[in-house]
């Protein structure tokens, strides 16, 4: 299975039905911090250039808010595609964050749900 097939299989999403309208990128609240827009990421999955996506920060910046999916006219769950990309990276490389990276002062005030959800998205 090549990488593009892997993304499709882990996400379960039919990326080929995307017609590049851009509504996902327009709806994305964290687009300002991304290298590639969600629309560009979907296009790169379509053409099979996953390595190019891996050079970007887009799938790490996605905060899983489901705005793109809520508005996609093709009903593609782009949030799941971002998760698949994160998972492939995490299973191949090492964790993106360690507990020791977080300042002690922050650990005192951060809600447990912030820590656990972050670790669920950035560690394998």
């Amino acid at each position: 299975m090549n990488l593009a097939e892997k993304v499709r299989s882990i996400s379960g999403e039919d990326v080929l039905s995307c017609y590049q309208c851009g509504l996902c990128s327009g709806s994305c609240p964290v687009r300002f911090a991304m290298d590639l827009s969600p629309t560009q990421v979907v296009r790169l999955v379509q053409v099979g250039n996953i390595e190019k996506i891996f050079e970007s920060n887009t799938f790490w910046i996605c905060s899983t808010c489901f705005s793109c999916y809520a508005r996609c006219p093709r009903k593609i769950n782009i949030t799941k595609i971002m998760e698949a990309l994160r998972q492939i990276r995490l299973r191949r490389d090492q964790d993106k964050i360690a507990l020791s990276d977080i300042p002690k002062e922050e650990l005192k005030i951060l809600p447990p749900i912030a820590l656990v959800s972050n670790f669920r998205k950035t560690t394998a």
Partner: protein, 308 residues
């Protein structure tokens, strides 16, 4: 009194104690007894979206099994609903049923619980299905009703300018959301029933930055500014929330947002249940404002409005 199984989750017992203290008290006032699950574990916190990994979906399913067990033990009778305050808990518990609609995943999950029982103990029986997760907002809307809430108001929040904020996980995706994902009205309706003046917040369904608050505070600071500045400019005096993570970001990250954007004035952030506790005339201890859990102290505002 309607007795409903209640799943607390970690947040409302730690950084969001003000949410559950006020919430459980107003539930009782409105004729709902929230019966805590005798046994529960982490909800899984964030929906796990990969198709090929059953492990990370087990936590919420296990909690649904515990609701099943409450019925078997007779703690509740034929009650397949489970209530939660936290949006993240609600989302994962609700999502678990959707995940199990796939027969292959259901089978694998059943096999896991079977094997677990065999080797290390665990739940006595697998999940039979049919346990329904309810966000407490749904309880207020569908079981209690806005009219009943309005009838019970002892201290109307007259003249208090409140801007609601929903965040993501109670609204999206559509198949999980408790209201229209683009134009929700539950919080507005509740606040109107309490007599408050609702201020429009165009970003009330936008993401708060979520778990990026751990390692990308810069992103959260921008979003906090974006989510607060419009209601602040429209004269809002308090932001009302329903999710403990949104609340933390909107409240505590105002410090970072204020450094980036000097025009942001501090504004208190409260759970809708706290305002309900005030309006329904409960004791001050149920307001949850004295627990040191707020970054921006709401007390000066409440005192100025004769609500404290």
């Amino acid at each position: 009194m309607i007795r409903l199984p209640y799943y607390p989750g970690c947040a409302v017992q730690t950084t969001a104690r003000n949410y559950s203290i006020s919430g459980v008290a107003i539930a009782e006032k409105l004729g709902i007894e929230l019966v805590e699950l005798p046994k529960w574990n982490c909800c899984g916190v964030f929906p796990f979206l990969a198709n090929d990994d059953i492990m990370r979906h087990l936590a919420p399913i296990r909690n649904l099994i515990h609701v099943q067990e409450m019925n078997e033990k007779g703690i509740v009778q034929n009650e397949n609903r489970v209530v939660t305050f936290c949006s993240m808990c609600y989302h994962t518990l609700k999502e678990a049923n959707l995940f199990l609609k796939d027969p292959e995943k259901k089978e694998k999950t059943d096999i896991f619980f079977e094997r677990e029982k065999e080797f290390v103990g665990g739940v006595k029986e697998g999940y039979k299905g049919g346990v329904e997760a309810l966000d407490f907002l749904e309880v207020l809307k569908d079981i209690v009703g806005y009219d009943k809430i309005a009838e019970e108001v002892k201290k109307p929040l007259k003249g208090l300018k409140v801007a609601p904020y929903y965040g993501c996980l109670v609204l999206r995706p559509r198949e999980i959301g408790i209201d229209d994902p683009e134009n929700p009205t539950i919080l507005e309706n509740i606040l109107e029933a309490l007599g408050a003046e609702v201020i429009d917040n165009p970003n009330r369904i936008q993401c708060c930055g979520s778990y990026h608050t751990v390692d990308r505070r810069d992103i959260v600071a921008e979003l906090t500014y974006d989510n607060l500045i419009y209601p602040v400019r429209s004269g809002a005096e308090v932001i009302v929330t329903c999710c403990p993570l949104c609340t933390f970001n909107l409240d505590f990250r105002q410090k970072d947002a204020g450094k980036l954007h000097r025009d942001l004035q501090e504004i208190p952030v409260m759970y809708y249940t706290q305002l309900m506790a005030i309006a329904l005339g409960l004791d001050k201890q149920f307001y949850g404002v004295d627990l040191g859990l707020h970054y921006v102290d709401p007390k000066p505002l409440l005192e100025a409005k004769n609500l404290y």
